[in-house]
């Protein structure tokens, strides 16, 4: 029946539950105990762009370039780079003494293989590689890009935070992107402890002693990245009430993306402080632009004046204004690209009268519009309810279809009409870094059927995106961004609904833990 080998493996695994995964606890030394926002199913940040995979990635993998607090790209594993006069050849030299967790030194061909693997899946990578002539590693510590046309944003592509470009040994980087890498071997400050990993429950990292941090001061994903604690233990606690009790009882040190309603209870407990993340996700209202009525821009325009970002934010996070940010355009307020172009309809109170008039004048024939409402995602469910009520107020007939997130993610890929399971509107969130620039923001694209679900088509937006990429300097890029936002407010690929704050509950014993985009280096536990 069961082959002997697997049987032994199973029984071995069976006995393991008695011993191994939890032995480490006895070893002592500072331990940082962390509750992630969700389970970590995927250990390969290239395979899946989901948030937790990126946070895991930054603990275990190092990157060629990093981004500092002012969103400037700084060299990290790279010593520096020289660009040829015609801007077509980039030579990047690596710092010496970089080692992988398996003790092997980091060589040029590892970096080349890692970049190649990343480029197939990442939007910015694909744009970069459309003009790359050749990428080679002439020696162990240098790699050379030969481009078809100048690409000033090259370091930005290699250094942007999400989805990150993890540098891993060549033997792993050769796995094709649609499969997860078999082993988690990086050159970052922490080492992933595989035999203590219990998927859906525990993830454990240990300090990688032979990691060489940079000398400059640490800033976001740039500069010095030093592991100040011996171990980091993620324990996945699906139930927020239990998570809140755990951190208040001191059984856990950090709770990322804490449930906002607990803030008051957490603060009164005296052992925990709660910080609001400055870089927070952006909630958006996404239209299905292949199906009536929202394939008609006039009807999309009719919705815009009725939007009151404050109402949606209250529906998601409650009335306390410190928990969210409004007046959010197509670029996050913290992003250098943020500007006020086309923002007038979102300023001040909503103009329901104007919206009704615009709708009456439009070709809307009164058919019910289907809103996909994910009930198991409390914050998105709250926003959907507010949007539904608002649309009804201005004259739309609304059919709220409730489902769990798994079903929504599948239903929204249906391009068909509403009768065959199609949809019209759904509310979702662009994660922290996505609304920072036109390349990271997949929702602002206008490339029709190939775009993110909703499939808006707008050649103007596509051209502006290329213009932004190849813009020579920051000022040029800011000008293009202003023009892009103005166009977006006309085309309305989506309507930004505000930016709900991300919260992190941190035990008072912990110092240096970032308030957004969790990173475990430069953090100490007293």
């Amino acid at each position: 029946m069961i082959s002997r080998r697997t049987f032994l493996q199973a029984s071995a695994a069976g006995t393991v539950f008695l011993a191994a995964p939890y032995i480490a606890r006895a070893k002592g030394g500072e331990v940082l105990r962390f509750i992630p926002e969700s389970d970590l199913p995927v250990l390969d940040p290239v395979f899946s762009p989901v948030g937790v995979a990126q946070h895991h990635g930054y603990a275990v993998f190092d990157t060629l370039y990093g981004m500092d607090e002012n969103f400037k790209i700084q060299p990290q594993m790279a010593q520096g780079h020289e660009v040829s006069a015609d801007g077509l050849t980039w030579t990047i030299k690596l710092r010496e003494g970089l080692l992988f967790h398996d003790g092997e030194p980091v060589r040029g061909r590892d970096v080349v293989a890692s970049i190649n693997r990343w480029s197939k899946g990442d939007a910015f990578g694909q744009t970069l590689f459309s003009i790359v002539q050749e990428l080679s590693a002439p020696s162990d510590d240098t790699i050379v890009f030969r481009l078809k046309r100048p690409f000033p944003m090259l370091p930005n592509a290699l250094g942007k935070p999400t989805p990150m470009l993890p540098i891993m040994p060549e033997r792993l980087a050769l796995t094709e992107p649609s499969k997860q890498v078999a082993e988690v071997i990086g050159s970052g400050p922490f080492r992933f402890v595989k035999n203590e990993w219990v998927s859906g429950s525990r993830v454990v990292y240990e300090r990688f002693d032979r990691y060489k941090p940079r000398s400059e001061a640490g800033s976001f994903t740039a500069g010095r990245k030093e592991a100040l604690v011996d171990r980091v233990e993620w324990s996945i606690i699906p139930d927020s009430a239990t998570a809140a009790s755990a951190i208040m009882a001191g059984e856990v040190d950090v709770w990322h993306n804490a449930q906002p309603d607990f803030i008051q209870a957490l603060e009164t407990s005296g052992t925990v402080r709660v910080e609001v993340g400055k870089i927070s996700p952006t909630t958006i209202l996404r239209f299905n632009q292949l199906q009536p009525p929202f394939n008609d821009p006039k009807i999309r325009q009719a919705v815009l004046p009725a939007i009151n970002q404050a109402d949606v934010m209250i529906g998601m996070r409650g009335a306390d204004p410190s928990r969210w940010v409004t007046g959010v355009g197509f670029f996050h307020p913290m992003s250098p690209m943020a500007n006020s172009a086309g923002m007038d309809p979102l300023k001040g109170p909503p103009d329901l009268e104007k919206a009704r008039k615009l709708l009456a004048a439009s070709s809307y024939d009164g058919r019910p519009i289907v809103i996909l409402d994910p009930v198991d995602q409390a914050h998105l469910h709250g926003a959907s309810l507010v949007i539904g009520k608002m649309l009804e107020r201005i004259g739309f007939k609304v059919d709220m279809q409730t489902m769990d997130w798994g079903t929504l993610v599948q239903r929204r890929t249906n391009k068909g009409p509403v009768q065959q399971g199609g949809w019209n509107i759904f509310v979702t969130g662009l994660n922290e870094m996505m609304a920072f620039d036109p390349v990271a923001n997949i929702a602002i694209r206008g490339n029709g059927e190939k775009a993110y679900v909703g499939w808006p088509t707008s050649q103007k937006l596509e051209d502006l995106r290329d213009k932004w990429i190849y813009a020579p300097d920051d000022d040029a890029r800011k000008a293009v961004a202003r023009e892009m936002q103005a166009t977006a407010f006309e085309e309305l690929p989506y309507i930004p609904l505000g930016s709900p704050g991300g919260f992190v509950a941190i035990s008072k014993k912990v110092r240096g833990f970032p308030s957004e985009f969790p990173r475990f280096y430069n953090v100490s536990v007293s």
């Binding site: 032995i23 199913p41 998927s199 324990s235 059984e251 079903t407």
Partner: protein
């Protein structure tokens, strides 16, 4: 005995096969696309398609079913779609908490429920009897997770006697292991105690009305001897049957309890797998639970021979 085991084995194989077909077809016919979930919210359509293709999700029903069945027979449960890890190894790691929870809550509830039932039967229709029965029905009527939260709040957070959540394996010290299981076991056991107490009472009442109990009284035996030497042994068969049937119910409770107390057990793993459409994991776990149910009930049937000499296989 061997012939009986043989016959039960054949019947169990048929049951397991039927469960396999049922679960596989159920998952095959339903909406929800795991690839889309894995790719995450912001994935582009090609990324989803790529993952979908790599997981062979588009092949016809019979092909996938026979592949899977073949794998099962060789003991390879395949890999989880979501995490890519071998399922057998995953089960190995998360087997401990559920087994510990079941064992502790089962012993706890039997140690409480059976004496409760006996006393209630002994003092039938007295205030004690009615009180015990209302108490046990109460335990039966409150949702498990409400009991869980209350226990965690008072004994964990406020009094700090016991940890609020988490699991420590046996290897990290018996008390450390036990400490993490007391509250979840009480929460999970609360539902089962009510049922088992009521069934024990009914079984004991039935036995106490038999002629041989009257004969025992006529021999001058005291209440204790009658209850425990004569009556309980006869009531043992119906009581163990309820324990056997209770296992399936307990596993259900375990799903909720493991969520409330963050125990990394198979119950929570199954619930997550279902919500994430992780087909291979769902199939393997439900098969595992069915196998467990059949084995437990086989053991229960075998214990009948210890209690009742008339039962011969």
């Amino acid at each position: 005995m061997l012939t009986y085991l043989g016959r039960r084995l054949i019947a169990s194989i048929f049951v397991i096969l039927m469960v396999a077909i049922f679960v596989f077809s159920l998952l095959y016919l339903t909406p929800g696309d795991p690839a889309a979930i894995i790719a995450g919210d912001q994935a582009t359509p090609e990324m989803v398609a790529r993952i979908r293709q790599s997981l062979k999700l588009d092949e016809p029903y019979l092909v996938r079913f026979s592949d899977w069945l073949l794998q099962i027979v060789q003991g390879d449960l395949g890999n989880s779609i979501y995490t890519g890890q071998p399922i057998l190894q995953q089960i190995g790691l998360r087997f401990g908490p559920t087994l510990s929870l079941m064992v502790v809550s089962m012993t706890l509830s039997t140690l409480v429920a059976i004496p409760l039932g006996i006393v209630a039967a002994w003092k039938q229709n007295s205030r004690v009897d009615r009180g015990l029965m209302v108490f046990s029905t109460l335990g039966f009527s409150i949702p498990v997770f409400v009991v869980g939260y209350l226990l965690a709040y008072f004994f964990g957070l406020k009094l700090k006697w016991l940890p609020v959540q988490g699991y420590a394996p046996l290897s990290s010290g018996l008390w450390n292991w036990m400490r993490h299981l007391i509250l979840p076991s009480i929460a999970l056991g609360s539902a089962f105690i009510g049922l088992l107490a009521r069934m024990t009472r009914a079984a004991m009442l039935q036995v106490l009305s038999q002629d041989y109990v009257r004969t025992a009284k006529a021999k001058g035996l005291g209440q204790g001897e009658i209850l425990f030497r004569h009556a309980l042994k006869n009531a043992a068969v119906p009581i163990t049957t309820v324990v056997g049937l209770g296992i399936a119910g307990l596993i259900s409770g375990a799903v909720v309890t493991e969520s409330v107390f963050a125990l990394p057990g198979l119950g929570r793993m199954t619930a997550d797998a279902i919500l994430r459409r992780d087909y291979p994991v769902i199939q393997s776990l439900i098969l595992l639970f069915s196998l467990n149910y059949l084995i437990v009930n086989l053991l229960v049937d075998i214990t009948y021979t210890f209690f009742d000499p008339r039962v011969r296989y």
